[in-house]
Amino acid sequence: MLTPALEAVDLAHAYPGPRGAVEALRAVTLTVPRGEFFGLFGPNGAGKTTFIRVLATLVIPTSGHARVLGLDVVRDAARVRAQIGLVFSNENALYGRLTGRQNLEFFAALQGLAPGAARRRSAELLDFLGLTSAADRPAQAYSTGMRQKLNVARALLHDPAIIFLDEPTKGLDALTAETLRHLLRRELAERRGKTVLLTTHDLGEMEQLCDRVAVLEAGRLRAVGAPADLVREASRSVIYRLEVAGSGPGLADRLAQLPGVRAVTLAADGAATVLDLTLARAPEADLWRLLADLGVRVLRFGPKEDGLVTVLKELSQAGHE
């Protein structure tokens, strides 16, 4: 059996703080097989970036173990670094006064590439990421999107087997973010078979890119699974928002009597009526039949929040109970 790309066993890390240690990771156990596009999802402070930094050898865990392709991140740190590429969330982590090409050739040499190979590889990646025409301009003159692409190129210089993407589309406009996502999914995962570990706050990005997702909350691993499975699981008591035209008198009471409806709350009343329905399962025909019988014109109906937000809230609530 192939060694997994990434393994964490009871991984914990606490940052010292003025009022005692802040636990960023608490006994996280997780395995990511090779070739998977894996997402880390969670709110700010959930421990996503710390998890990536431990795997990238930048942070020594307080306890537990982490392995990259079977190599221990503390004992075999140098060998681990040869296997990974890290895209930082800070797109400014470049030498602004050097050109894009000079930045790449410099980091290529630090990755052990001979000068000729460094030049070729840098040119190849500049072309791959559409930066050739700007290659000889100082990086500080690049747009945010271009700098982030350069950041991605830097992580790929030594053709690593595993790539960590820490919020790679943060601060990018929608179009540039979409282009980058497409590039990451198609080129890295599908064509080159890389293992990718992604953190992002963009839920659509997570659902669009990842084969599986781990949900972290306050340093704890709450759930792992395919995004769709996690949403389905959490949808057992999803709140749906129903928006109908007009005032809809008695509608809330009628809806509350339907099987599978746990609660109905009037969110807004006026030209349109907005109701939040807590459902024990996905909406069924009864609901639609009732709405049709009442002659209600439905303006909008759907989960009140994005799927993964619901998952997060569900899991967070479960964790506190």
Partner: protein, 269 residues
């Protein structure tokens, strides 16, 4: 692999420094003006011929030139590791450097390499200007001895520089150590006057510094042409400082790196 990294670090340092054109050329111009300043100062005090200079047997200008050139170069060795590390921290490039295949100490200290090379070039330029334009008397210099003593002194200074870099990794600023380097170098090490000119109570403090020994030995080698054999006592003292300070610096840097990794503060500044 480290060979490519080493060359790339030097090249990056040069490109970065050269991108600030005015500052880049200003450095060289400033270094040349310092030589002129030493000449004016020597003309002014030269008539007096201080008794302390008798040990070295040369003129005031050559004495000042060697002191100033050496101090400037060693000051770069003292401070540049920490200074460059501060710049890398502020730019957010320390973590990208540390996830490469280059060993962490080289990745952290390498950014200072160009400054050291440039420091050597400027020192050579100042000496050349001093000899050609202001007739500094280096005619009897024993260059191999000066080179050997310079290397030993540089090793000792590098140990201090590494400690200073370690200080930056932990506290994010090297000010206390830089300040100490300035004070000890320019007040006690005999840059502008011989250590013998210091009050008797301060002289032991001066001799506790490697640079005091380095400066005196270099002046004797360059002004009087003393050989390495004749200056063996200084060489041993400097080797002792290097043997004590270098491992201390390396251990300090490793400990600081471990500390920063444990605290997750490598990227902080």
């Amino acid at each position: 692999m480290s060979k490519y990294a080493l060359l790339a670090l030097v090249r990056r340092g040069f490109l970065h420094a050269a991108s600030y054109r005015l500052n880049f050329f200003g450095n060289y111009l400033g270094a040349a003006l310092v030589v002129v300043f030493f000449s004016v100062l020597a003309d002014f005090y030269g008539q007096a011929r201080p008794a302390g200079l008798a040990l070295f047997g040369g003129d005031t200008f050559t004495f000042l030139l060697i002191g100033g050139v050496t101090a400037r170069f060693f000051n770069v060795g003292f401070k540049q590791y920490a200074r460059e590390l501060e710049h890398e921290l502020a730019a957010g490039t320390v973590e990208p450097l540390l996830v490469t295949a280059t060993p962490a100490p080289l990745a952290l200290l390498g950014p200072a390499l160009w400054a050291l090379i440039e420091g050597l070039l400027i020192a050579a330029l100042q000496l050349a200007l001093g000899v050609w334009l202001f007739r500094a008397d280096l005619s009897r210099a024993d260059w191999p001895a000066a080179l050997a003593l310079g290397v030993l002194a540089l090793l000792a200074v590098t140990g201090w520089g590494l400690l200073s870099a370690a200080f930056v990794l932990v506290f994010k600023r090297a000010d206390p150590l830089s300040w100490l380097a300035d004070v000890t170098l320019y007040m006690f090490a005999g840059v502008y006057f011989p250590v013998a000119a210091l009050p008797a109570g301060l002289q032991p403090l001066a001799w506790a510094l490697p640079l005091s020994h380095a400066l005196e030995a270099l002046r004797l080698a360059l002004m009087q042409g003393r050989s390495l054999m004749e200056l063996a006592r200084y060489a041993w003292i400097l080797a002792g400082f290097a043997l004590a300070l270098l491992p201390l610096g390396v251990l300090g840097l490793e400990a600081a790196l471990r500390h920063a990794r444990r605290r997750g503060s490598l990227g902080h500044y």
